[in-house]
């Protein structure tokens, strides 16, 4: 190469580069190793679209490779609808969308008769329908599908191959799992355990008393104890199996650790003990909602509707949100329209004090809704256009020592004449065979006009405050109106005392009361775990509820709503009777949790009484009006009081993790020893923190693989029945007859082998009383759906176009035997829409709710007021009142753990990116939060020299925990908050083996702190026991006192 060439070549390269100027197509392809096409507008890695909508005409073209299936979410326990996008080729879930028909997904939701094809437009630009008809799922609803594909999902039955909790398992066949758990025997001989274990067959004994000396405790079958989770639309199946087929009363949901005392307080207020109604504020119609520890954007039941409706109400309707919570949670949406929204950092456990103080203020300032409260019956209320009425004016016997103390005065007791009720009318109301309602007792009021005692339904207006002696059966007996009793409770403490209890200034309390009562019936309270999950949770809840009664907002737009509920499903329906069946068992005796029955009825009480002893206190406390006291179950077993268990079965629950104050070394040791609970069976989808201590683990279908007919907890004013169906083929193994291994398959198989009533060929009666089969899970749930489809005016049969769109007939072909062809056509219609939903225009009738709570409201509850405390033997107050959190022996938590030694309160709250102990295996959510923190107020942190990210140690009377500090403004001074849902010791965070397969631990799954390991126990009880609300049954999780140290 000569110089010239050299320069030339340099120049050439230079020119090419200089002139290249992006014109790469002029460059010989040899230079390019990749295609030089124009830029790729589509994301290679994005999902394929589900359909195409012409933005001009709205014409919808489905992607033939994708199926859209309407079903129900269970990312948390809110049971919103969803629309699952499934890849037809792989059968895998690609993404989850909202179901525009379902009121939890959309505001407003689509009219039910909207053709399916139309509903797809809610995804698109056409006429902005994608915005106005937007149907959503929340962060968890979007991502929870990942649990289906957890590589460590349990897909076949497992049997313990080492000590309990040791993490050694071997896979066994379905048949072996059934055989061994059913027949028992020396099940663990191969690992050197000689113990003979009784199986379900031996324990299912409805005759032999479990304690021959005290047979009243019940038969041996009661020693089968079942703990299940929250209602996912399958719970009724479980309940039916345990209580009605097997015959054990020991069926538990997680109520007692969830919001127990709140529910029981509502039962008391609504005086309804057979069903479980409860109320929430109707945000959309409200001017002001006071959220007592139930911030609508944080957790909430149901989360999505709470979050959405509260946001829309604040932004569009100017609803004010007042968050009464030690922590500034999400929920005030800073809309200028609701600029007066505010946060009130209350001292944990003192909501009762605040509510009673507000009530006292309202009584004093005459701000209560007297027109509402003074109507003694429905008709009188209706005349004043009130859609509900109360017993505020009813007289209650308050004479100390009187045999009827705490009972309502009856007309016959004071010789008031009683008109004969027209019998025909009573019969007419109880059509379609439902049991006739019990006759209403003849309550007595003081008629306002006459000033005389009058039968409640013969007065137009009755006296609200009354306290005097009446002649009853010849003697003077003190009687008071319900409202008088409530007033006296409100006046029991001064405002100064209330202020001290709540940590709020008197002026703040007055301002809150003024604000609340200013809005009349357009103000309402809303609460859940924050108020309820204290040892005083019941009375605090009741006090918060009572504020609604004082403004008279029940059944009103913007007031308190019991929700629309659902259509008849797992019940005695138009097509099938899923409530009862021939040979149905009636559980006998007492529940192991010491709930639902009085201590005074127990053999213990009777024995002590007979022996002339003071029967009080009971060995362990009883909670006669509460239910679902799951936190008491293991402590009862440990105390052997009232008895111990032979078989513990867990399903959809993680009680060792989720029960506050329970799982310490003593309990772990107890559970690990097979002598104590001889057989533990867990039905789980993964190796959970509780399941790891089981003897057998039965695989289950996840909610994308299950059936279910859930409704929504509350807040939806119209009727809702979700229809959950398997949107993907279950990944679990198959049983011999081709059923996916699941909880239902297990129960059905056990039932058949034990010949239990209500299961098998004749398991379910149809409406005509003819037996039909319960052989598969579909048999049960499709029949429930048939009930839903036929309730009231039956839904239309599915149009052939919709059948083509959904291919439901092909998809469900394998279950075709479950229903009649006529039923199928309607059930398809329901399934295509993901459930049955009343139309949005049924929310309100003018200014009142369309779906109302139809009964009287109890300012005073007789059942409550006639119940005795099982330790002190004293009557419980029958109205709302302020009681500080206390131990069973009556000492308050602050007395036992004074502030001087325990300056902080710790509380927990629901995780945003997890659900209870669940969803920690969802990587999409872990990507949002890998761990929780120990949240502390700025001022407290400064005092302790703590900064964000510091390692700190929490010390409580029951233990210690180390975590990372997060310094916040929105934490009450003197309070520490720790998000729940972290700090797992299993569920992926612990190694285990399955045969020769080793499943390594992923420590990121266990990060963070679990407060339940260090929350309070009740030291006044003789055996290990969480601190419990003895009235409402809540296991206390938010009263724990603590110290904090910087490490």
């Amino acid at each position: 190469m000569n110089r010239r060439d050299f320069i030339k070549s340099v120049a050439t390269v230079g020119t090419i580069s200089a002139l290249g100027l992006g014109l790469e197509q002029f460059i010989p392809t040899a230079l390019g190793d990749e295609k030089m096409a124009s830029p790729t507008p589509y994301d290679h890695d994005a999902l394929p679209v589900e359909l195409h909508i012409d933005p001009k005409t709205g014409k919808v073209d489905l992607n033939p490779d994708i199926a859209l299936k309407n079903s129900v979410c269970l990312g948390c326990w809110s049971n919103c609808g969803n629309r699952v996008k499934v890849d037809k080729k792989t059968g895998k879930i690609l993404r989850v969308l909202g179901n525009p028909y379902h009121p939890s997904n959309a505001e407003p939701h689509l009219p039910y008769n909207t053709p399916l094809a139309e509903s797809f437009k809610s995804l698109g630009q056409y006429q902005d329908l994608g915005i106005t008809q937007r149907a959503t799922v929340c962060q968890r609803g979007n991502s929870a599908y990942q649990i289906v594909y957890d590589p460590n999902r349990i897909l076949t039955p497992l049997k313990r191959a080492g000590k309990r909790g040791e993490g050694k398992w071997k896979p066994i066949t379905w048949e072996q799992a059934i055989q061994e758990t059913l027949e028992g025997g020396q099940l663990f001989k191969e690992i050197g355990e000689e113990q003979v274990i009784e199986g379900l067959r031996q324990v299912r004994d409805l005759k032999t008393p479990l304690n021959p000396e005290e047979p009243e405790w019940g038969p041996k079958a009661n020693q089968f104890v079942f703990i299940g989770g929250r209602d996912d639309g399958r719970t009724e199946f479980a309940n039916r199996f345990v209580t009605k087929s097997f015959g054990s009363p020991n069926f538990y949901g997680h109520g007692g650790t969830c919001g127990g005392s709140r529910r029981i307080a509502f039962l008391s207020f609504l005086d309804t003990w057979d069903k479980k109604p409860h109320m929430k504020a109707d945000y959309m119609g409200s001017e002001l909602v006071m959220f007592f520890g139930n911030a609508p954007g944080q957790a909430g039941a149901p989360f999505q509707p709470m979050a959405r409706k509260s946001a829309l109400a604040q932004a569009d309707n100017g609803m004010k949100a007042i968050l009464i919570d030690p922590i500034l949670q999400n929920g005030m949406y800073t809309s200028p329209e609701s600029s007066e929204s505010s946060w009130v950092p209350i001292r944990p456990g003192s909501d009762g004090a605040l509510a009673m103080a507000m009530a006292r203020w309202a009584f004093e300032q005459k701000k209560i809704n007297e027109a509402f409260l003074s109507a003694p019956n429905k008709e009188a209320a209706a005349k004043r256009k009130n859609p509900s009425w109360t017993n505020a004016t009813y007289l209650v016997i308050q004479e100390p020592g009187h045999p009827d103390f705490g009972k309502f005065l009856r007309a016959e007791q004071i010789g008031l004449p009683i008109p004969v009720a027209p019998a025909a009318k009573a019969a007419a109301t109880s059509a379609n065979g439902a049991p006739a309602p019990a006759p209403v007792p003849n309550y007595v009021v003081i008629d306002k006009a006459s000033g005389k005692p009058t039968l409640y339904n013969q007065s137009e207006e009755a006296t609200l405050y009354y306290s005097a002696k009446l002649s009853v059966g010849g003697s003077d007996v003190l009687v008071k109106t319900s409202l008088q009793l409530f007033l006296e409770e409100a006046n029991r403490y001064t405002f100064d005392q209330y202020a001290e209890a709540t940590g709020l200034s008197k002026n703040k309390i007055f301002a809150l009361a003024q604000e609340f009562f200013r809005h009349g019936t357009k103000a309402a309270t809303d609460h859940h775990g924050g108020v309820a999950m204290h040892a005083n949770g019941f009375y605090s809840s009741l006090a918060v509820i009572m504020l609604n009664a004082l403004v008279g907002n029940i059944n009103r737009k913007g007031g308190s709503t019991k929700s629309g509920g659902g259509y008849v499903a797992i019940d005695k329906g138009k097509r099938y009777n899923l409530l009862s069946f021939p040979g149905m068992a009636k559980p006998q005796g007492f529940k192991i949790s010491r709930e639902g029955r009085r201590y005074e009825d127990t053999p213990e009480f009777k024995k002590k009484k007979a022996a002339g002893q003071n029967p009080y206190p009971a060995t362990l406390p009883w909670s006669p009006i509460a239910d679902s006291l799951v936190g008491n179950v293991i402590p009862s077993m440990m105390a052997g009081y009232p008895y111990n268990a032979k078989i513990l079965m867990m399903w959809m629950t993680n009680p060792f993790y989720s029960t506050p104050g329970l799982f310490q070394k003593d309990v772990e040791n107890y559970v690990k020893e097979p002598k104590n609970i001889p057989l533990i069976i867990s039905v789980d989808v993964l190796m959970g923190d509780s399941s790891m201590y089981a003897d057998y683990i039965i695989p289950d279908t996840t909610f994308y693989e299950s059936w279910g007919v859930p409704t929504v907890w509350n807040l939806i004013l119209t009727k809702v029945n979700g229809a959950r169906r398997p949107v993907v083929q279950p990944l679990t193994g198959k049983t011999k007859d081709g059923q996916p291994m699941s909880f239902e398959a297990y129960c059905i198989e056990i039932g058949k082998r034990l010949n239990l009533p209500g299961i098998g060929e004749k398991g379910i009666l149809n409406a005509q009383g003819e037996p039909t089969a319960l052989n598969t899970r579909e048999d049960f749930f499709l029949k429930a759906l048939a009930n839903v489809a036929f309730d009231e005016t039956p839904v239309p049969s599915i149009a052939s176009e919709e059948l083509n769109l959904t291919s439901l007939d092909q998809e469900l072909n394998y279950t075709s035997s479950s229903l009649t062809p006529e039923e199928w056509q309607k059930v398809y219609y329901v399934l295509a829409r993901g459930g049955r939903f009343e139309d949005y225009d049924k929310c309100y009738d003018g200014d009142v709710l369309h779906n109302k709570f139809p009964k009287i409201l109890a300012i005073y509850n007789e059942k409550l007021g006639t119940t005795r405390h099982s330790f002190s033997g004293e009557y419980l107050p029958g109205t709302a009142c302020w009681q500080p959190p206390a131990l069973a022996d009556g000492r308050t938590v602050d007395e036992v753990y004074p502030n001087s030694q325990w300056p902080f309160h710790i509380i927990s709250y629901k995780p945003r990116y997890r659900t209870g102990s669940y969803l920690s295996n969802v990587s999409l959510l872990r990507d949002m939060a890998k761990t929780n923190t120990i949240e502390i107020n700025l001022a407290d942190a400064e005092k302790l020299g703590i900064q964000d990210g510091h390692s700190v140690k929490l010390i409580t009377p029951t233990g210690e925990a180390i975590g990372i500090a997060k310094v916040r403004r929105g934490v009450r001074q003197g309070t520490i908050a720790v998000e729940y849902g972290f700090g797992h010791w299993a569920a992926g965070a612990k190694r285990y083996s399955m045969g020769s397969k080793n499943i390594p631990a992923d420590s990121t799954l266990g990060q963070g702190v679990l407060l339940n390991l260090i929350t309070l126990r009740d030291p006044s009880l003789k055996s290990p026991h969480p601190l419990t609300d003895l009235v409402g049954g809540s296991t206390d999780r938010n009263t724990t006192k603590a110290r904090l140290v910087k490490l």
Partner: protein, 395 residues
């Protein structure tokens, strides 16, 4: 102002352009500085700098040969780097940089070749062995040593050098410019940025030149010695460095005054460097060690005459300018755009390894070029013997 805001949630945005880019800026700076020094004699005709012209250009080329490796190494898709040539974005400073980065070393190479041609040609004829073959090859057959040819060489060299100076300034100015162009980053977005980069390039270029000269003259030059003339030139260059430092520091002071009184982001940047967590790196290392100390050394009558002190000062300027590059490149991105804490930066170990390898490569190239190219003329004895045969020489 006392803040009444606390962050609850935000996403962390780690610094993207890291140590590799900082070091790349350092290299281009060195190259530009060297080139400018090289051009002082050839282009600007300052006779006393003539002897360093060749050393300067060799450094300029050698440094710029390695510099882009850092850039490519920093790409997430290094195998696609060549598309930079073909998908030019007329609005992107970096796009132009690609061509500057290509043209400048090419130009320097050719310029250098013309500086060296005489020696190559001579050496090709008069030396033996490896060098002969090497020089013969490098002369590309252009062995005309006539006065006319040499004059033409000088002319072309001057032309190319003249072209090269703005190219060098552009190459480095543009690195400053691409930062200055980025409005998003308060620390970078100032008109002074290209000048600051240029001046620190001059400081470090001079520093490295001094060191390389010292080392190569002592060990690799035909004389194997720092002759008195060389020493006086070195001290002279050191005085140049003094002035570069003065200008650089002045620019820096002006820049910080402007930042301090600019918008909140700029103020925060200034705070960060003057009082905050970057204080040590900025005031201590970059300004103190890198500018102030060398300034003192080159100023004090005693030290400014000592080769040892000068060498030390040169080392300090290099450290200071590396610190400067890191402070500005990384520090500039650490200032949050949406957060309330500094954006984190952790050097990728792979990147650190690359830097090490590239540095070794650079040192090797410098060593080999200074060892084998006639930077200081041809080996004395051999040339002298050859000179006795002018016929051969003239051919």
């Amino acid at each position: 102002m006392v803040s009444n805001v606390t962050y609850l949630a935000n996403v962390v945005h780690p610094v993207q352009l890291g140590i590799l880019i900082s070091i790349y800026f350092f290299y281009t700076g060195l190259s530009a500085g060297s080139f400018v020094l090289s051009s002082l004699g050839t282009v600007f005709g300052i006779q006393k700098y003539k002897p360093i012209a060749k050393a300067g250009v060799i450094m300029a080329v050698a440094l710029l040969a390695i510099a882009p490796l850092h850039l490519i190494g920093d790409l997430e898709q290094p195998q696609r780097f060549y598309t930079l040539f073909f998908r030019l974005n007329p609005r992107s400073a970096i796009s132009y940089g690609t061509f500057l980065l290509t043209l400048y070393p090419l130009n320097s190479l050719i310029y250098g070749w013309f500086l060296f041609r005489r020696d190559f040609a001579t050496g090709a004829q008069e030396l033996t062995g490896l060098r002969r073959r090497l020089y013969k090859f490098l002369s590309f057959g252009k062995t005309d040593l006539s006065a006319a040819a040499l004059a033409k060489d000088a002319k072309i060299a001057k032309f190319l050098g003249t072209l090269g100076v703005p190219l060098a300034l552009l190459v480095h100015g543009y690195t400053g410019f691409i930062l200055a162009d980025i409005q998003a980053r308060a620390l970078w977005h100032t008109g002074l940025m290209p000048l600051i980069f240029l001046m620190s390039a001059m400081v470090s270029g001079t520093g490295l030149l001094i060191l390389v000269l010292m080392f190569s003259q002592r060990f690799l030059s035909p004389e194997r010695a720092i002759t008195p003339e060389r020493k006086s030139l070195l001290l002279d260059i050191a005085q140049l460095m003094l002035w570069f430092i003065v200008v650089d520091a002045t620019l820096m002071i002006i820049d910080f005054i402007m930042l301090y009184f600019a918008n909140t982001a700029g103020h925060a940047a200034a705070q960060l460097f003057l009082y905050g967590s970057h204080r040590t790196m900025f005031l201590g290392v970059e300004a103190g060690l890198g500018l102030l100390l060398p300034f003192i050394i080159t100023l004090l009558p005693k030290t400014k005459k000592s080769l040892g002190w000068i060498g030390f000062a040169s080392v300090l300027t290099l450290i200071g300018v590396i610190a400067m590059r890191i402070n500005f490149v990384i520090g500039g991105q650490q200032l949050p755009l949406s957060g309330d804490t500094l954006n984190p930066y952790t050097a990728d170990p792979k990147h650190l390894m690359m830097i090490g390898i590239f540095a070794l490569l650079e040192i090797s190239i410098l060593y080999l070029t200074f060892r084998f190219l006639p930077v200081y003329g041809l080996p004395q004895e051999k040339v002298q013997t050859k000179l006795q045969h002018p016929a051969v020489f003239r051919q």
